[in-house]
Amino acid sequence: MSKRHLLALFSNFDEAELVVQELRNTQINGFNVNDDMIVKSAIEHPEVEEFLGEKPVYVQWFTLFGALMGGLLGFFLISGAQANFYAQLKGGKPIVPLPPNFVLTYEMFILGGVFITVLGFLICAGLPARRSPLYSANVSEDQIGILVKSDEGASNTLKEIFSKHQALEIQEEAGK
């Protein structure tokens, strides 16, 4: 069955929260509230997380991996270079001196951490992304958008719920 997208815009978070609650409490065939709903907002709202339920974030695992790899890579690259740098006279001092190498390892630890964190962010946030089937520039201004995807049969019920909660605008588009 073809899927239909609906985007409803609301003027405030309280109204959007009521909509989400009602969508959760109502059994709608062809619509899964956990998978088929996206909330869009102009600012980062702790309330959104509260009414959508906590969802895991994996960026910090990228950070850990990046920082460790950066540090290890830094240390072994430097040590490897020092161990092969025969032209430099060491005068009886260690070939791979740990205290000074710590400084560059530390810098590479941070460099790896930052770079891979950003990479993790792009992957986890799904960026770069194509535009959603429905989008309103008002979402980046001051409105809350609820984008849902459902079977065609469920879209009337969804529209009724949006209208009941004073949606400012409902956009509709047939999916593929």
Partner: protein, 454 residues
Amino acid sequence: MKDIREDIAWAKINQDVLKSLENPRKLYWWILAVALGMLGIAVGCEVYQYNVGMGVANMDNPHMWGLYIATFIFWIGMSHSGTLLSAILHLMHADWRKPIYRFAEAMTTFSLLTAGLFVAVHIGRVWQMYYALPYPNERGLWPNFQSPLLWDAMAIFTYLSSSILFLYVGMIPDLAICRDRIHAGWRKKLYTLLSLGWEGTDRQWRNFRVTYLTIACFLIPLAVSVHSIVASDFGMSQAPGWHVTSFPPYFVAGALYSGCAAIITLFIILRYVFRFEEYMTLPILKKIVRLTFAIAMVWTYLNAVEFASVWYSHDEASKDVLIQKASGTYAPFWWAMIFCGSILPITLAFKRFQTNIPVLFAVSLLLNLGMWLERWMIVAPTFSHGIYPWAWDHDQWPSFVQWGMVFGSFGWFTLLFMLFCKIFPSVSMYEVKEMVYHRSLHLKKGEADEQGAH
């Protein structure tokens, strides 16, 4: 007085900030023209030095580091303002930073770019800059990994790339606003490309929050390490006046100090040029001024610690350098540094001056003059009065080429900074909305509690 009005409409915030991308006051173009002229002088000096050789910079033995390195440290120091406002205050949940942190972050990036130029200029043979990079080569040669100068290069590269990413990531939601609101043209294409298809979904915001916080956590130790390593360029040598234990914290405090003073200067300029009176408010300015005063006192204390530890160390060579600073050829500059860095900031302690824009503008410029003199007074006196007596009659006065390059670096920085503010939103729209939202919620809660009590 409130930091910001709670009843500003979100649409107005977008409108005001986007207007700054199109219609700045006339002063903007004057600043740009002057900056371009200053940069032209520096380019002329560099071309001359490139063709004739380093001799025209009037650097010799023992004066191997002149204004180039002093100014390099100055610009590195300036870059700490962004980290302070963005990262440290972000972790402390100081939400008054929100309207002003974006330009401070931009300051960080552009001052690092300016600092980097001085390394290239100082080398003289700029075309051999790549010698400093660690790359496998048939000669089996590597840079000296134990040298603070190499640490410096690596630390600055890390800081610059991390700062650019931090600035960019933090700007993505605002770039999406620009994409949605700006009409067709090259700007629209640029914002569409850079906003990466951001739509403000719950998934995007969730990951954005964690990412921003994580990079902020990395940037704080990074910023401290960068200036500590710059301090190591001096502190790890045996030269009198440089071999001081307190140098790393002293450098970090100096960096934060000059960064804060520069924030005051640019705050005042941007507020006027882009008509940001509603967002860059006087109560916020007051908070920065107080912060600057506190850091100025820390810097003054660390200066006193340095003088005391040199004085009581019984290291005659170091003591002589200190005496030379206070009474020798460089004495007027050294005393000017003390005046601008330690005495002048006392004006910031007076309430009547904390929101007086002309006074603050003049004071902030003088504070940064003091901080620039500080860097020069670290570099030059040690060279002219080192351990060996043959150096004692070698006072050095920088040539016009060096002065021209220093002068032009301010033009280069201003040019980049002002262009950035014209192309990208210099006030974070989404964060100002968050600030307004949370404050209005807080206000409503307070009113409800009050009604409940009655």
